[in-house]
Point group: C2
């Protein structure tokens, strides 16, 4: 059984390696975990002994087969808890992570199974990220920033880049959240501002920066 700390490292390695595609160097992991590089070296050695990561000194680290499954398991729990916090307890987006970081480590297969059921087997979390199934399978869905879609396109908001409190507050104010349907009705040539219709009702103009950070998925 892995400790909370080991689970957090494994998750960080998984994310930094972009789902296992490339290996992760010690310093970036140290930055991510907010620890000293020396601590990372120690921990990698331990995870390596437990066959959770593939590691060669000075060559970087990556999740092993076992480690990837474990990481996806933690990610699954993290995202399911987020759905719960938003859907049932009305949490704001910026209050989610602190709590989900703790809840993701609760050890009880029954708990997460029942919670998943209680929430109606959600496929995406409130940030639009896909929830792995019990076996670690991910349904990947195309997510494009509004800036990269042509005028006329309609889609569902499935995520946002970044999570600054002020940005999220702005989205709340104009009535955009995960699940909102947006249609791109115009794009201004001179600065890239975009007119979008929200849920078929009102139309607003968003700045290019905002457009760049809202992710749509084919409706």
């Amino acid at each position: 059984m892995l400790s909370f700390v080991e689970e957090n490292y494994l998750k960080a390695i998984y994310h930094l390696s972009e789902a296992g595609k490339r290996s992760v160097n010690t310093n970036s992991l140290a930055e991510e975990m907010k620890t000293a590089p020396a601590s990372v070296s120690d921990m990698i050695k331990r995870l390596s002994e437990k066959k959770m990561v593939d590691y060669q000194k000075y060559r970087g680290v990556n999740v092993s087969g076992k480690g990837k499954i474990k990481a996806l398991h933690v990610i699954r729990q993290h995202r399911i808890w987020k759905v719960f916090l938003v859907e049932k307890l009305n949490f704001q987006w910026d209050q989610l992570d602190e709590v989900a970081e703790q809840l993701e480590h609760i050890k009880s297969p029954l708990l997460i199974q029942r919670l998943d059921e209680f929430l109606g087997f959600p496929k995406f979390d409130p940030h639009g990220d896909p929830i792995p199934d019990e076996n670690g399978q991910l349904i990947e869905k195309r997510k494009d920033p509004i800036t990269q879609l042509p005028v006329g396109t309609a889609g569902i908001v499935v995520g946002v880049n970044g999570s600054s409190a002020s940005f999220l507050k702005y989205l709340d104010k104009v009535g955009i959240s995960i699940g909102t349907r947006l249609q791109i009705v115009d794009r201004m040539e001179f600065d890239g501002s975009v007119d979008v219709t929200i849920d078929g009702k009102k139309t607003i103009t968003i700045s290019p920066t905002v457009a760049e950070n809202i992710l749509l998925s084919e409706a």
Copy 2:
């Protein structure tokens, strides 16, 4: 901030001291915590330095003012989570504690406040134990085993003694759970068996042992 382990010790001291009424000796605490007495001595010293317990060597330990509030805070979270597990996720009574022991340590005042609200501000947990409020205030309610109540009495099931799986299964089968209304309609002199009416509907006979372990509170 206290660690999980410190919180568990504090809760155990609170319980074993019967809410702070008498001091607790090292061995009983060691038994409760399933650790060596030496480990208990170490931990007590630490909690004492943090002013969470009152302690004099060889004289036993008890919760301090601060410690009692902290213990009640953890107990509050434990019991609120139990309500959630039973009411929302349909957990069985015997599956509760393992998970609630973990969930009670999640650090987020907002989480427990919202959860409490989501559950409709419950006053008792599924075992019939009262839930302390945010300030650690407890509403104590008389709980009497059926054996000690006269024929004619009606009341709500607010708890059970013990929690053997087979006993709980029996209660499920006959349709008795927390919140069920029972009326005592007869008591057999020769063996103490009791006839009770369940929720005003059917009447069944329960053995003296069962009667002894079901706790009623004035309706």
